[in-house]
Amino acid sequence: MFFHIVLERNMQLHPRYFGRNLRDNLVSKLMKDVEGTCSGRHGFVVAVTGIENIGKGLIRDGTGFVTFPVKYQCVVFRPFKGEILEAVVTMVNKMGFFAEAGPVQIFVSNHLIPDDMEFQSGDMPNYTTSDGSVKIQKDSEVRLKIIGTRVDATEIFCIGTIKDDFLGVINDPTTV
């Protein structure tokens, strides 16, 4: 799920950036530092949308670096248990398949794939129904439900299932 929230961060800035463009430098550095990162609590920071407030800088003794407390608005993406997501399959193997929804990696175990879908090894490993009508392979788009998340410091990893109503392939690259 996406959220638009306000976060705070202490930015250290090298003295060489001081000057007229200090604010711009600070913001661009913030974006560089923050976007794409993941915090366990808030999920992935997708984009910084605005700056709320930049506090007073504090000069660090000895280094000349200045620390600014920056409050910024950003869009974060955090997957939740039970959430339905659409994701792109990135890899298929006999244990299941991996899919990605933006920055989040989701693993769908073969236990969580409908029983009528069988793993077919080969050049393009895939899961196929017995009648061959549905096929999950790399680059397929699937709709899945997250049944578990594991939040590390820098990564969120999810386990998903497609063994439920209305879940499964939504767009097969081979048929397009």
Partner: protein, 1037 residues
Amino acid sequence: MSHRGGMDDEDDDDDYEEQVADFDEEEVDEEEEDRSGGKKRRRSSFIDDDAEEVDEDDEEEEEDDYEDEDYGGKSSRKRQKSKKGSASNFFDIEAAVDSDEEEEEEEGDDDFIVETGSDLPYDDDNRGRARHRLPPHQEDHEDLEAMARSIQERYGKQRMADYDEETTDVEQQALLPSVRDPKLWMVKCAIGRERETAVCLMQKYIDKGSELQIRSAIALDHLKNYIYVEADKEAHVREACKGLRNIFGQKITLVPIREMTDVLSVESKAIDLARGTWVRMKIGTYKGDLAKVVDVDNVRQRVTVKLIPRIDLQALANKLEGREVVKKKAFVPPPRFMNVDEARELHIRVEHRRDAYGERFEAFGGMMFKDGFLYKTVSIKSISAQSIKPTFDELEKFRKPGESGDGDVASLSTLFANRKKGHFMKGDAVIVIKGDLKNLKGWVEKVDEDNVHIRPEIKDLPKTLAVNEKELVKYFEPGNHVKVVTGAQEGATGMVVKVEQHVLILISDTTKEHIRVFADDVVESSEVTTGVTRIGDYELRDLVLLDNLSFGVIIRVESEAFQVLKGVPDRPEVVLVKLREIKCKIEKKISVQDRFKNTISSKDVVKIIDGPCRGKQGPVEHIYRGILFIFDRHHLEHAGFICVKAHSCVVVGGSRSNGDRNGDAHTRFNGLRTPSRIPQSPSRVPRGRPSSDSGGRHRGGRGHDGLTGATVKVRQGSYKGYRGRVIEVKGTSVRVELESQMKVVTVDRNHITDNIAVTPQRETSRYGMGSETPMHPSRTPLHPYMTPMRDPGATPIHDGMRTPMRDRAWNPYAPMSPPRDNWEDGNPGSWGASPQYQPGSPPSRPYEAPTPGAGWASTPGGNYSEAGTPRDSSAYANAPSPYLPSTPGQPMTPNSASYLPGTPGGQPMTPGTGGLDMMSPVLGGDTEGPWFMPDILVNVHRAGDESVGVIKEVLPDGSYKVGLGSSGNGETITALPAEMEAVVPRKSDKIKIMGGALRGSTGKLIGVDGTDGIVKVDDTLDVKILDLVILAKLAQS
């Protein structure tokens, strides 16, 4: 037998006989299967040694005494056993006994209490009292307690007027025996006849009345060969025992007062054996094997268990046919399901039988089989039922094909009997698996002894329900993140993807593999761990060097072993290694080049452009010998590690700046050993540190054959501890020239310390001088050029022949590196040719294998590898920064000078100064470039065969195009430098100079002087003295 004749009740007598017989058979089983084990099991340690000698006596005596009895003496028992149609016969008997006498036996059970308290009149009244005190459900052993109590009651009345069941500890204390109480004597009796003896004493008391001055007689089930008699004086005991045929030796020991209570305290826990329980065999062939209880006979203390047979049919057939059987003790046949047809094929007669329940069995050789399982009746004591945790594998094995999982699951629940206290905690999600409430889910509210109060999920039910703990298992849902707390996978965490009854399938966090565990073994946890991630010094993802010269990355840590992905490019090779099979961790930071000669250092992201894993990409975790271990999080196998050749990769992006690389280069420094510093000089030998055992580790080994020339230490065998130089490698053995004895011996390759740690040669040469300080980053860009080329030089093969000179000739930097000059006093000759200064430079020692052996090994190869020794690296590891204090530069300067004189030209290999002079110009020259050159004759070693070829072309990647045949007309192959060695020219051969200023020139070898060749150069017609190593025979064109 007279006293027995006195027994009024014939039935009773039989009863005892039965009972006794039973014990006897137990005895037989145990003794036969495990004589010593049987003895060890005796619990009272204070009689142990006695018991042992006595055993032997017993046997003899018994033989005399009971020869005529059916189940009596040992000898006759044995005889019976050898006749052995028996186990099955025994079954029948058993059945008969059961049906006839079960009731009486049961009754008799309680009677035994009284029997042991033999001074009481054997009357109903008393029996009633005994019963009264005993809660009816209490079991056999509890009578002991009751008995103890009754004894105390009887004799302790003065002190304790009011006997109450709920005695407090303090009251109990008061009951402890004191000096004024009668004493307990331990009397030896015939094995297996303890009870009988006690009963005899009782009978005697009945017959003789108060003449007998003993107070009680006690036989304990767990104590063989002894009974206890309570009496005031030893004489009383002797008197009472007189004439009893089961008591002999008159060995009577006083039990110290302190130990008296121990005699009668019950220590054995209630063994609750139910059918279907998993147990483990404690003794015999099946020791440690998992077995399933199929029948329990509590009275006879025997259980029938189902086992996977370990039977050597051939041996059995031999035995049955009376052929001689060679007893191989060490051999235990592997467990395998019995195929009766196989038995028939071996002409073993197979009978069909039915047991008491009408089940059909196949029987032969005295064993019963059904469905391939062996059904064996054993004593309860020979199995252990406590905390049995069958592994999945074992259970799988037990599940015969065709048998549905359900039955198994039911029996799995017996596992739960073994769970620890506090298994359920408040808040745990549980599900009922048995009884009316089956499949009811709920949450634990409160845990009593055996009952767990749960709050059911369904609303209409009462708030809490009490459910027996054994009817509950923990419940997890897919998606739960759990941690395995017991069992083989202990410590692993993962997410539940499937729940099959009480088996969960997890996706491990680390390996992304499926793990099957029991629901009981896991707890919900948000923690992410990798399970066990280290054993000893080795951790998951470490690069390690293995015993057999190979290396790899630890991709999985199991309970006692590691899974290692070996450093074999192209095909993943995973081996399971034990801790001791790992030599060391490789911690060097080195870098190599990718296909396009970009430097790859660890953590750089590379893409694989070749081979089976083509297209994958990821950061480089380890680099070793030109092989990269790449971690690709999308790669599910091998914990994400892929092993590829550096040449099949390209750097993507790259994570470090140039500056970094320089820094890195200096870190690499760590590993460096300078080839040129290698002490070839014998003079070094005495001064080397004689024994640092790292010596053994220094090894000339890159490549397959790197051992040759290396200094090794023999680890095993008659030459254990010797150090020497490897002269030759022959298959699995190596010929080693011992340092301490002037001889060459052959030892098994596995018996030598095999520690090669290799710094790719380029590293070495780059920093060859060791003196190169971090301050010279400017040089870095050059490296790439020379690197690949140097490899050829690095072939171990060459090392042998080229030894001393090669380094100097080859060290491109040597002449130019300013820092070196500083300390070398600008005398290139001295450092180049002089191994001598080496020893002189203290700092170098640590890096270098300081052993004399190393000195001897003296092949450049040896030295390189030294560089890589784990030791060294670990030493360095601490200080990987360029600013290491250990920078070799420092102290060498003055020393080298002083040492120079110390190393006389005595070395055969380094021709004195003259040689050096000759060399100096060469050194000064540009020596960059491939070692091998076109048109020279080489020996190509490949996959075991060796052929002569002519180098046609040098390929940019460092390999060579070689035309086979002495004139190069044969097939053209591509060979790596490591696979080739230049053909050593002989006198008056046409040669090509492969190194030095004259590199590329041709000439004629007009003489050989030690390791130097006297060459007449074609172009200038000059005569030069050059190291033979840089001379190669020119192909005849």
